[in-house]
């Protein structure tokens, strides 16, 4: 603890009460959906922020040493940049959940096993609990919030609903993201391929039957659209090109 900057006026976690980074708030980057109480505290935050000392420029071997106190970072989440000030020890999961209010990714095991915190980093699934936020800078971070919305579901999310692939729903965003990565790479997976691709995710209520159905159903929808030559189905929500079926290899599906 001796190495921490103990500036008593500075909130040691380096971000705003209510879990949103000051800069995100000030830039208006992530304000949508915030409670009025939080917004009303903006002037106070701005005042505090102005007092925050600049990160001391410490180098060794020509390399900057950052932390252990809060460090300014930029995270690219669902296509938007968010500025935050976090200690290097803060995981991407805590940054998303506690500081940017992206709470779709869940904290369950916090040890890189359960899959509930699955996000897509530069096109590949990762456990957000096992990546440091500071290391996720410069990467394209996709969370479940970047797919469809309740009003306009992504076809995969619609298949989850249709197949009742959720009970308590706590594992669901992780399964949705892992399934999305699978279908992006392989739009017509076999059942064993689905099992392999989702082997890093666990459910406690026992929704695997629904998830199998959802992924197979979504795959059928992806390939059906692709077969019709429609490369741009109506995008769902802000899904952008996420909803677009990828025309790749087609395989026979094994329902057994």
């Amino acid at each position: 603890m001796s190495s921490r900057r103990d500036d008593s006026d500075e909130d040691p976690r380096g971000s705003a009460p209510g879990g949103l980074s000051r800069r995100a708030l000030l830039r208006g980057g992530a304000v949508a959906g915030l409670g009025a109480g939080l917004l009303s505290s903006l002037p106070a935050l701005a005042a505090k922020s102005a007092k925050a000392p600049a990160e001391p420029a410490k180098t060794e071997a020509g390399v900057a040493l950052l932390g252990p106190g809060p460090v300014a970072m930029k995270l690219q989440v669902n296509g938007k940049e968010h500025a935050v000030k976090l200690e290097p020890r803060v995981t991407l999961l805590d940054a998303l959940r506690d500081h940017l209010d992206f709470t779709g990714a869940k904290k369950v095991c916090d040890r890189g096993t359960c899959g509930a915190c699955t996000v897509i980093l530069d096109g590949k699934t990762v456990y957000a609990c096992s990546v440091l936020a500071i290391e996720a800078q410069g990467s394209d971070i996709q969370t479940v919030e970047g797919l469809g919305t309740v009003e306009k579901l992504h076809p995969l999310q619609a298949a989850f609903v249709e197949n009742d692939a959720h009970q308590c729903g706590f594992c669901t965003p992780g399964f949705v993201m892992a399934s999305k990565a699978l279908l992006d790479a392989n739009p017509a997976p076999t059942l064993p391929e689905i099992h392999h691709a989702l082997s890093g995710n666990f459910c406690r209520c026992g929704t695997y039957a629904g998830i199998r159905g959802a992924v197979l159903g979504a795959a059928a929808a992806y390939t059906a659209t692709a077969a019709e030559g429609d490369t741009s189905p109506e995008p769902s929500g802000n899904a952008g090109d996420d909803a677009r079926p990828k025309k790749k290899k087609k395989k026979k599906r094994n329902d057994g």
């Binding site: 506690d98 709470t103 040890r111 359960c114 009970q167 695997y208 629904g210």
Partner: protein
């Protein structure tokens, strides 16, 4: 409340099959879109303005006395806003990871730093955590011996006898959303708490009596919760501590358990072991049973598995003994006592069938009269399950599972559960603009409660499901029972049916003169109120509601209430097919069939999901779950998801679910489904393994270690 009208519908019933438009259909759950988009906000997800994070200092010893506790180093740390001692100097701790102190800080990381900074010392005391062998337990609590008939004489006279020892370990609830809550004081005397609970309506009183404010001043919210399975009824000591930290700090505090604590202290299912002898005539008619069982549920209760299970063998004797261990107390775990009683009984009966070289299907059918009033239900279910599994065509004698290293086998089990609807209240408001609002202080654990009450309300009022705004998860709505013991669906749907019938009766009263008829001639169909047989004489829903002017109309309904809308006592049959590699002891699920009765089904889709879920959770418990308690330290060793092994999507095989519906089932009204299908999987799977490999693997989980040990013993 404008009008309370419980008397309006004196004798409510469920609609006849031909009148149901939503009830019993396959309907997607209302909150599916919120869950699959990640917009459903659980307790763990809420970021209140100024939120503090709490972390708990836990005792690393299974039995110890706190000899030093200095909070000052934590208290003085920047960012720490409140600290509290939970079990101070001199306290004797009785299980590992019990709470000692707690801190709240501006970030989760700082809260953890502060917990590490607390200076604490313990005097370690001897512990006992291994209950597998009854004769080695230092203390036991023996239950009453229950005897019916003359088991000793019947056993002597039996043509066939089978004797065995069986057991299953303690397993954890392991809810994905850990236990926890956020507490926020809105004034000196008022608090709001967001709780991950399965007993919303009881939370205010549970908080109030320990934080010293009136229950009416505690507002509890549970919009979404990430699994309970029986472990989330209590406010828990950590709930009270969270409230006190929030009061002390003057800021909202979030306290969620970490995974090690969730697995270790937040709920588990008691273990059960038994020595059993069962006797039968040479035709398989069961005549005699004696059993001695024991198990541990920590220092508290250890359950008492019903034995013999389902089959009331005429001459029987049973005694259960609780073995206290230095582990956290067990909590209700889907179908308390039944999975244990079922596994122990069905294993013994299956061994007896093998001794008689009899197909256990035939042995079960032969003895169905011993199951009492569910005998016909079981018979129908057995026949359907036989078809779905192809049992008769594929069953083989024990051990004849194939010539290669991978052996196939089939196993079978029966189960029962009560599930009568709990106490519940529903309020339905018809807004002048036509909107229908339903309010009930129940919670949706993922079972589909939110959707079920919407379906009942919409079906009764002749509206589409989307027309009903379902409001649950708030303690300020009319009270409803906790979700346990499969009591929810019966309670909430009966209360909703009564409330909706009452609301409809009010509408009919207003509409009848307008349509120049009497109320008994009206029906609510297709968003109209119309005269039966004359569909043109109608009011649209909006026209009908407008008859009340600008004041909303409110009707209520309760359970229990007039009429018999819920039932109790269901039966189910499950069959399992496994492939066992006898060189590695690895058991792979091939297929599982569940045939289940639950009275009247409200939503077929979510009902089936409940059964799929029970099969999967049951497979997981049968194949790989176990709380591994270290004999040396008394600590649970497998406190993460990689070593507390649950089944994944590739481990569960093909699953087939068949729900019993129609005459003989529907008229009993909705009966809960959370417990019954959870009972049989362990028994059916263990029996399938015995059928495959030729010897009984007596201990769950069916890991390579247990399978290979049993094979080695069998070969010796």
């Amino acid at each position: 409340m404008a009008d309370t009208t419980d008397q309006k519908t004196a004798d409510p019933t469920w609609p006849a099959a031909e009148e149901r438009r939503l009830i019993g259909q396959r309907i997607s759950r209302l909150d599916g879109p919120a869950k699959s988009t990640g917009t459903a906000k659980y307790t763990y997800d809420l970021n209140r303005p100024g939120l503090l994070y709490a972390r708990v200092l836990r005792c690393p010893h299974a039995h110890a006395k706190v000899t030093k506790l200095d909070m000052a180093p934590a208290e003085g740390m920047p960012g720490v806003r409140a600290v509290r001692v939970i079990q101070g100097m001199g306290t004797e701790i009785q299980w590992a990871l019990d709470e000692v102190a707690v801190v709240a800080a501006v970030s989760d990381d700082i809260a953890q730093d502060a917990v590490r900074a607390i200076a604490v010392e313990y005097e370690v005391l001897p512990h006992f955590v291994t209950e597998e062998q009854l004769d080695k337990a230092p203390a036991t609590k023996a239950g009453e011996e229950q005897t019916v008939g003359d088991p000793a004489a019947a056993m002597t006279a039996a043509a066939a006898r089978s004797k065995g020892t069986y057991g299953m370990p303690v397993i954890s609830h392991n809810c994905l959303e850990a236990h926890g809550q956020i507490c926020e004081w809105t004034s000196k005397e008022e608090m709001t708490a967001w709780c991950s609970t399965q007993s919303l309506s009881s939370m205010p009183a549970q908080f109030a009596e320990r934080i010293g404010i009136p229950a009416a001043n505690v507002h509890v919210i549970t919009q979404y919760m990430g699994g309970g399975f029986g472990s989330k009824f209590s406010v828990d000591r950590w709930g009270i501590e969270c409230a006190e930290l929030a009061r002390q700090a003057g800021a909202p505090v979030k306290l969620m358990l970490d995974r090690a604590a969730e697995l270790t202290v937040a709920g588990d299912r008691p273990s059960a072991f038994a020595e059993i002898e069962v006797g039968a005539g040479d035709d398989g008619t069961l005549t005699a049973w004696t059993s001695k069982s024991w198990g541990s549920g920590g220092l508290g209760s250890a359950g008492d598995p019903p034995m013999p299970y389902v089959f009331q063998i005429p001459n029987r004797r049973h005694r259960h003994t609780a073995v206290p261990t230095n582990t956290a107390s067990s909590r209700a775990w889907r179908a308390p006592n039944h999975p244990q009683g079922c596994y122990l009984t069905m294993s013994a009966l299956d061994d007896l069938a093998a001794k008689l070289a009899m197909d256990p299907y035939d042995l079960f059918v032969k003895n169905l009269p011993l199951t009492g009033k569910l005998a016909d239900v079981y018979k129908q279910e057995l026949e359907i399950a036989e078809q779905l599994m192809g049992w008769k065509a594929r069953w083989h004698q024990r051990g004849a599972g194939g010539s290669g290293p991978v052996k196939h086998g089939l196993g079978l089990s029966l189960h029962t559960w009560g599930g009568r609807g709990h106490r519940s209240n529903c309020e339905i408001t018809l807004q002048p603009d036509g909107q229908v609002e339903l309010k009930m202080a129940t919670q949706d654990l993922g079972t589909g409660t939110r959707t079920a009450v919407g379906i009942v309300c919409a079906d009764t009022l002749g509206l589409p499901l989307e027309a009903v705004k379902v409001n649950i998860g708030d303690s300020r709505y009319p009270a409803s029972g906790g979700s346990g013991g499969s009591t929810t669906i019966g309670g909430v749907s009966a209360a909703t049916r009564r409330a909706a019938l009452n609301a409809r009766a009010l509408l009919f009263e207003k509409a009848a003169p307008k349509l120049e008829t009497t109320v008994d001639q009206l029906e609510a169909v297709d968003a109209t109120i119309r005269v039966k047989g004359s569909p043109d004489r109608k009011l649209t829903w909006k026209q009908a509601v407008a008859l009340f002017g600008h004041t909303p109309v409110t009707a209520t309904g309760a359970n229990p209430g007039p009429g018999e809308l819920t039932g109790s006592g269901v039966g189910g049959v499950q069959m399992a097919e496994v492939a066992v590699d006898v060189e590695t002891g690895i058991v792979k699920m091939q297929k599982m069939v569940a045939v289940q009765d639950c009275g009247l089904i409200i939503d077929l889709k979510t009902a089936e999901s409940q059964v799929y879920g029970a099969l999967i959770m049951g497979i997981s418990g049968a194949l790989s779950e176990e709380k591994v308690i270290d004999p040396v330290t008394g600590r649970m060793l497998n406190v993460d998801f990689e070593s507390y092994k649950m089944a994944g999507i590739g481990d569960v095989g093909e699953l087939v679910v068949h729900m019993m519906t129609g005459p003989g089932y529907d008229e009993r009204g909705p009966i809960g489904l959370g417990e019954p299908p959870m009972v049989s999987p362990g028994a059916a799977i263990a029996n399938a393994v015995a059928n495959a490999v030729g010897v009984r693997v007596p201990y769950l989980p069916l890991t390579p270690r247990h399978v290979l040990d049993a094979l080695a013993k069998g070969a010796a």
